[in-house]
Amino acid sequence: MPGPAPDERMRPKGRRNTQGIRVDPEAEVTHEPRQAVLSALVKHRPGVLSEVSALFSRRQFNIESLTVGPTVDEDTARMTILIEEPEPGIDQAKKQLRKLVPVVSVRELEGESVRRELALVKVSGEKPDDVNAVADMYDGQAVDASTDSVTVEITGSKQKIDAAVEAFKQFDVQEIVRTGAAALERGPKTLEKDV
């Protein structure tokens, strides 16, 4: 085919980054990932959880935890999803989530939202008093005890639970289960009504 070769053609000056955003041609730009808490109201029906989790995996959103549970309205459930993504990824995740038919609404909870996780930690029963002392430090309580083991319940922020789990390691941790975060916005704002 006729026409000037590639190196003889008019060229634009600009450049975009991998997210398709125009950037300074000279400067390196990267969007740092940050953590976001997405809260979604969804129709309470079979398959919703798999639909949401499949969306996150096929679009390669980096998801830290996902919890789901009923709400006051028996037809809807609430999902709390922690993701770690650069800004454009968070924006995409919200929009893609909103696009799913069973999803009623989606919101990113602001930084100071109330976030709680629950952990159950089963440790050796050899030093029950010491275990209780550590549990107290983290406002936890023993919920089960036998001659060989003590199970402690702790709720709180992720950081608090991380710290507690670390502290319990001295008692030979046998099993741990953690729920992932449940979160609500502070103040009168809700998912149904923007205040």
Binding site: M10, K13, Q19, R22, G47, R98
Partner: protein, 585 residues
């Protein structure tokens, strides 16, 4: 009403006025839901789990086209949806029937084509037991549909179908599926299906925010090098005439995406045809050097953008889309306009303070047109060039002729060398790139537009994937002309091997291929062969004149490659015009 080149007259039978019998089973409610939604045709294949639905179809005025393979059913429904603008409908039984539909559903999903698939399922009490012909159809199709429904109850199955139909059509169109357990369809019910309505969680934006429109219009009118990028969404939204008015009024050059082919007439001065991997040199120059792009109904697919770092790097992007998730997904939108393409084009039309001052730019675009013309060489003593076959056919046919294709080099030549002027006349598989799309798509297209001529350019490889569909075209007496641009190879792969794998032609050349003209005759179609330039026009005319399906086996130059070419992830402005340029990139 869709912007079809010609719309067939409605059959004025008093059908709609005849009293409808009340439904007595779930299956009847399913069929009633389709009737209420205005379904004319269903494409499908029978089987155990879907039998109650077919039994209910026995009493309906809906036409059923029995396909030779369920993949063909979903592609035919897809093409029907593209040409009419309304959801195409396909049926399959459970298990293998449903899995055979999957390719066509995925194809519809990638190209936002309206399709509704109804699949049989094993009776509810067996679901989960690995029963005979059980597959998790909803699980398999959920990621490739707008929504997949599992019908749980005979009383609500009709509503499921009504909703799925409405959803396939609403907003950004796409496929939906309803999985129908046999006990649910066989079960008794007197509940008539509700009106086709989208679920209450599904919002369909119409007009874009006025203030945003105003800002975008100002940016566009201030541009020195404006272009419009018209995507498939323009056709889907029946916004082609609004686009034409807008572009002509403000004299802005128009580039289309591949799915947007036909949204703007390629013979118009402002048309630069389509951009991307095998787009025209002038479209790729303009898209690279523009300073303001009005992009409408496009998802900035990587075959269009090439590497995003070099995509329209100087341009402010005004992105009009009905799907908010497309905004800033691949290319950042400086001016996002969420809404229906036709509505937003009207808003923009009114909001433009003035036409951009772009005389120089338009001249530049015309210059590129003469610098990079879409030409090819055709030495008489060498094998037939595919471009010549496409061009000759294009010259012989009316503007509203519908072109279908398979996937590969032939698809590119069919899009490059045919002149498209009308929406809904280009029917191809873009996002999924499905070889085998052509044969069944032409069937769906012909039934959707019986008064329009239908041509399918296919590759030898693609044709072999769905050739059984010829039996359907023959049985249904469909006047379709299939042209196999036969290079005895999966040519597109061979081209990449020559360009990027040092010519190591692994599994790309057929040591033996059938005689397609004879194959056609065996099916009961007419078969023709083309070997040289001598009788191209004559053969095309003969095939067109034959009232029924015909196949022209056109033996083309097996060494011919598709140019211009932007290598995958490359810079659109550095398109190669010949093999040698690829080495320079």
């Amino acid at each position: 009403m869709s912007e079809r080149a010609s719309v067939p007259k409605e059959d004025e039978d008093a059908e709609s006025e005849t009293e409808q019998e009340p439904v007595t089973t779930g299956a009847q409610s399913v069929i009633r839901a389709l009737e209420n939604a205005g379904t004319d045709y269903v494409f499908g294949v029978q089987g155990g789990a879907i039998m109650p639905v077919y039994d209910a179809l026995y009493d309906s005025d809906i036409n059923h086209v029995t396909m030779a393979h369920e993949q063909g059913a979903s592609h035919a429904a897809d093409a029907y949806g593209i040409v009419t603008g309304d959801p195409g409908v396909c049926f399959a039984t459970s298990g293998p029937g449903a899995t055979n539909l999957v390719t066509g559903i995925a194809d519809a999903n990638m190209d936002s084509d309206p399709v509704i698939a109804l699949t049989g399922q094993v009776p509810t009490e067996f679901v989960g037991n690995d029963a005979f012909q059980e597959t998790d159809t909803v699980g398999i199709t959920q990621p490739i549909t707008k929504e997949s429904y599992f019908a749980a109850d005979s009383d609500t199955v009709g509503d499921n179908v009504s909703e799925a139909f409405a959803l396939a059509d609403a907003g950004r169109q796409g496929p939906t599926l309803v999985d129908l357990p046999k006990d649910v369809t066989q079960g008794e019910t007197e509940v008539e299906p509700g009106k086709p309505e989208t679920p209450d969680t599904y919002d369909v934006p119409e007009e874009a925010d006025d203030a945003n429109v105003q800002e975008a219009a100002e940016a566009l009118s201030e541009a020195d090098r404006p272009v419009i990028l018209s995507g498939g969404g323009v056709i889907k939204a029946n916004a082609s005439s609004a686009l034409r008015e807008f572009a002509k009024e403000y004299e802005i050059p128009v580039i289309t995406t591949m799915p947007g082919i036909g949204s703007f007439p390629e013979d118009h001065e402002l048309s630069l045809e389509w951009a991307g991997m095998h787009g025209t040199g002038y479209a790729n120059m303009a898209i690279t050097n523009t300073d303001c792009m009005l992009a409408i109904g496009t998802r900035f697919d990587d075959r269009l953008t090439g590497g995003v770092d070099s995509f329209a790097p100087d341009a402010d992007i005004i992105h009009v889309d009905i799907d908010p998730a497309e905004i800033s997904k691949n290319i950042y939108a400086d001016y996002p306009l969420i809404g229906d393409a036709r509505e937003v084009l009207r808003q923009l039309f009114d909001a433009m303070p003035r036409a951009p001052d772009a005389d120089e730019w338009r001249e530049q675009c015309q210059e590129w047109k003469s610098e990079y013309p879409m030409t090819y060489e055709m030495p008489e003593d060498e094998p037939l060039k595919p471009q010549y076959v496409v061009e000759t056919f294009s010259d012989l046919t009316p503007d509203d002729t519908i072109v279908c294709t398979g996937v590969g080099q032939h698809q590119m030549w069919a899009s490059q060398f045919w002149e498209y002027t009308e929406p809904r006349t280009w029917v191809s598989s873009h996002g999924l790139g499905t070889m085998g799309y052509g044969v069944p798509a032409a069937i769906g297209a012909k039934l959707a537009a019986p008064d329009q001529e239908v041509v399918c350019f296919d590759g030898d490889g693609s044709f072999l994937m769905t050739v059984q569909g010829l039996s359907v075209a023959v049985r249904e007496q469909l006047d379709i002309t299939y042209v196999v641009l036969n290079n005895e190879a999966v040519g597109m792969v061979r081209q990449w091997q020559d360009g990027f794998y040092e010519g190591r032609r692994m599994a790309s050349e057929y040591p033996w291929i059938p005689q397609f003209d004879k194959l056609a005759e065996a099916f009961g179609a007419r078969g023709f062969t083309l070997e040289s330039y001598e009788n191209v026009e004559e053969t095309i005319q003969e095939a067109r004149d034959y009232d029924g399906p015909s196949v022209i086996d056109a033996h083309i130059d097996p060494g011919e490659n598709v140019f211009p070419m932007v290598p995958s992830g490359g810079d659109n402005g550095l398109f190669a015009l010949e093999e040698d340029h690829l080495d320079q990139l």
